[in-house]
Structures are given as structure tokens and as C-alpha cells.
Symmetry: C2
Subunit: 100 residues, 2 copies
């Protein structure tokens, strides 16, 4: 399996962030062709102490490299990416990962 | 569901890290009571450019808050945590998250 992982640091305005995320961004993401599912991890604490480094981690799951590559090239993904850069550019870190 | 998430930055010696992780750390983690499963995300790229911020992300899944709390207090988890601090203290970030 292939995952696109978005690590979000805590936004200045949590309420406004979540409103845009849930009402605008997630519906755009959901249109991505080949997307198997989206998992939202809401961070609650940091066991090693201090403020958690991230506020939320979103995972977009794809079956394999081919469906991931096709998804990334799709207009739907470009629209979701453009939206992401508009509301979260300064707080998001994107990673691609393989899961056995 | 409750997850313990370990974000690992790239170790100086990847081969030695993976040997210890796979042969010593994962077997210790696997003994944790209540652990449903462990998911290893091997980071392959960073779509926004540059070196990926993390090398690997490990997820330990638990059914709920109670089983997570019991797991964290167990001697098996303390042993895994002690091992973690011995080989990865400088490169690991631990987070606890809720997943619907």
C-alpha cells in the first residue's frame, strides 16, 4: 500500500482551520481517483513531554504505486493540493510512504 | 481507536538502526498487552521538496482509551520504551492520537 501523509502543526485559529478542513478540503480530497480511504489522527498528547509537535495527521491510502501515481496526476488531486497550499501551506508537511 | 505514533528522523546509520529496530525493538513492542497491530510506514519522498522530515513512522493501534492506558502502564511497554530511549532517543518523536 502507498500512503500520502499530511502532518499538520497546530494552526493559530483551530476552529477556522477545522471548518475549512472538514467543509472544503476533505470533500476535495474525497474526489481523488483511486483513494481507498482517508484516516484522520487527532493528536491528544506527547508522551515524551511538551506540546505535541503536530496537531493532526491525515493519511490518504492508495492500493499501490500505479494508483498513487495516477491519483497525484489527476485534476482532482491538483485541486485539493491547491486548496491545501491556500489554507495550510505554513503548517503542513507532506510525506509519501510505503506500507507492507 | 487510540494510536501511539512514533516519528523517526533519518538515523546516521540506517542499517544498524533497522537491525536493532527489527530484531530487538519490534519483538519487545509486540509483547505489549492490548496491542491490536503495528503499522510501519517507510517514507519514500517529500512531495513539497527537499529531504523528507522523517525516515519512518510507526503506528501502534489500541482499541480504546482504557486498553491504551493499561498498555502504557504495563512492564512490557516500559521495557519497549527503555529500549527505544537507548537506540533512538535523539531521532524519535512520540505522539498519541485518536482515530474515529
Amino acid at each position: 500500500m502507498k500512503k500520502l501523509i499530511a502532518l499538520y502543526r497546530k494552526p493559530d485559529d483551530v476552529e477556522a482551520f477545522l471548518k475549512h478542513y472538514n467543509e472544503v478540503h476533505l470533500p476535495l480530497v474525497a474526489r481523488t481517483p483511486g483513494l481507498l480511504r482517508t484516516v484522520i489522527n487527532r493528536v491528544t498528547s506527547a508522551p515524551m513531554g511538551g506540546e505535541p509537535a503536530y496537531f493532526m495527521i491525515a493519511e490518504m491510502h492508495f492500493a499501490d504505486q500505479d494508483s498513487f501515481d495516477a491519483a497525484m496526476k489527476s485534476p482532482e488531486n491538483r485541486a485539493a493540493g491547491k486548496d491545501l497550499m491556500g489554507f495550510a501551506r505554513d503548517i503542513v508537511t507532506l510525506l509519501v510512504a510505503d506500507v507492507d
